[in-house]
């Protein structure tokens, strides 16, 4: 095989990794703070993708309006999931929280099918692409990657530089001590859920550059997102970031060398093996 294909695959892997990192960090943020896994996270992303589709393609508004709508919808969905589903069962057994957000997943998939059928819908964007040294670089991949990286940097600054961001990290370490600092833990949870939802909105906006949306879009990226979070160590933001790029490289390069399906098979095999070797995530030391 021409090595240029491998180089191109590796670059595509990096570009895909940016968006995957955004998905994984959003899910991981919620888990790290609330200790709850939003099984339906990528299904919220799916709804945000529909928002972009309707605003831009159906109603003919400019793309940025669609993006703003998706971000707003994402934040609203994040807050709603917390208030309506998580908050009432926050102190119950983890299995109940999994079942509740799992139920939400089926609800959203069915409801989306009911409203919009199973048609694949995409937003037609006329964007340039470049060819550098025989490697094909489309803007539909470069732009989402660039924005993802900026968003990850933004999230990092938010969590480390602001009071509420630091409080989000602090409340995950000691909820009661944070109440003694004068912060209402319920409010911190709400802000966390809103930020997690906002990231789902942004991920939806960026995914629609390359993918068509349909009611079962969550099945395409959901398992991969969980795998990345677990591989990086649930709740570990740096680990999730690194794991996103490992997984996206395996899928992209494996996809070119063998086949797209084999790329995923290899990724899942690596995941299973790593679960035995490093059950606490790739960045933890072996005990």
């Amino acid at each position: 095989m021409d090595p240029i294909f491998l180089v191109e695959a590796a670059i595509n892997g990096i570009l895909l990794g940016g968006v995957l990192a955004l998905l994984a960090l959003g899910l991981n943020l919620i888990f790290g703070v609330l200790d709850v896994v939003w099984i339906a996270y990528v299904d919220l992303v799916m709804l945000c993708m529909y928002a972009v589709y309707f605003v831009v393609t159906v109603w003919g508004w400019p793309f940025w309006v669609g993006a703003v709508a998706a971000l707003a919808l994402g934040a609203l969905l994040g807050v709603s999931v917390h208030v309506l589903i998580i908050s009432p069962i926050l102190t119950s057994a983890p299995i109940n929280q999994l079942l509740a957000t799992g139920g939400l997943l089926f609800f959203l998939q069915s409801f989306a099918t009911f409203l919009w059928t199973t048609d694949h819908r995409s937003v037609r964007l006329t964007l340039p692409s470049w060819e550098v040294a025989g490697i094909f670089l489309p803007a539909t991949r470069l732009i989402p990657f660039g924005i993802s990286i900026l968003a990850v940097i933004g999230l990092y600054l938010f969590l480390t530089r602001t009071y509420i961001g630091t409080a989000i990290r602090a409340v995950s370490q000691d909820r009661e001590a944070m109440a003694l600092m004068g912060a209402d833990p319920r409010r911190v949870y709400l802000v966390t859920s809103a930020v997690g939802g906002l990231m789902a909105g942004l991920a939806g906006t960026l995914l629609i550059f390359q993918y068509a949306v349909h009611p079962f879009f969550g099945g395409q990226f959901g398992p991969l997102t969980f795998m990345i979070c677990v591989l990086g160590g649930l709740g570990n933001m740096v680990g999730a970031f690194v794991a996103s790029f490992i997984m996206s490289e395996v899928i992209a390069v494996g996809g070119v060398v063998f086949s797209t399906e084999m790329g995923y098979v290899i990724a899942f095999v690596i995941f299973i093996v790593m679960m035995f070797v490093r059950p606490g995530g790739i960045l933890t030391k072996r005990s």
């Binding site: 602090a170 001590a177 912060a183 833990p185």
Partner: protein, 234 residues
């Protein structure tokens, strides 16, 4: 400043405090001493709102705090240094202090408060970028107290500040608490180290099985035969 009247409180079906009344005046240092399981920690947790009262009243400077949540009580000027310090171990020293100044009123004076805490505990300035969980017990206790000072409280609740510290460190810590007192803070401290704490405070209460058994000047309490025998090992 702080008035507690006939408070009864507990966990589930268990009652830890029975009809407890206590008062702390502005500028005073008051201790609550007593054996393990007497309800000392529960008393502080009731004051800071972590445990609701079943009966009785709580007031600070005439404002009723009864029924308020912990995060609201902090805003009224009570800072609680909890048992076991309860720092945010993965956060740096500076971030822990920043969380102490979380409330808007405290946030506005963040730089000023930080300078005061760093003057009081120079070791915290040296270690500002270190993770709180990686410091020694004594340094962690200083950070816990510093974090409480960051909220610019009127009253500081200290729960077993000497717990788990080496004897030398205990003496140093009590010196530091004395200095905090001299800066004009009002202090309510719970301690098992009765001998040391009675040298520090003006007045003390003796709490036994959830009830106030005695109260008086620290010096008077230290003179009592049964206190000396039971708590000071004399």
């Amino acid at each position: 400043m702080l008035e507690i009247g006939n408070v009864t409180a507990g966990y589930g079906h268990f009652t830890a405090l029975w009809d407890v009344s206590l008062r702390v005046d502005a500028g005073e240092a008051v201790a609550v001493v007593g054996p393990n399981g007497a309800g000392k920690t529960t008393l502080l947790r009731v004051i800071s709102g972590l445990i609701p009262t079943r009966a009785g009243v709580l007031a600070l400077d005439g404002t009723s705090l009864t029924g308020m949540a912990a995060h609201q009580i902090v805003a009224h000027g009570i800072a609680h240094v909890p048992e076991g310090r309860r720092l945010f171990p993965a956060l740096t020293v500076a971030d822990n202090l920043k969380m102490g100044a979380f409330l808007p009123a405290a946030r506005a004076h963040h730089a000023e408060s930080l300078e005061r805490v760093y003057t009081l505990f120079p070791v915290l300035a040296e270690r500002h970028a270190q993770r709180a969980g990686s410091m020694s017990g004594g340094e962690q206790q200083m950070l816990a107290i510093g974090r409480a000072l960051m909220s610019r409280p009127k009253l500081i609740l200290l729960d077993e500040p000497s717990m788990g510290l080496a004897p030398v460190m205990v003496l140093r810590l009590f010196d530091l608490i004395r200095r905090i007192r001299e800066e004009g803070y009002t202090i309510l401290v719970v301690e098992q180290n009765v001998r040391q704490v009675l040298k520090l405070v003006d007045r003390a209460y003796l709490l036994e099985v959830g009830r106030i058994r005695m109260e008086g000047r620290a010096a008077e309490l230290a003179e009592q035969d049964f206190v000396r025998k039971a708590y000071m090992g004399v």
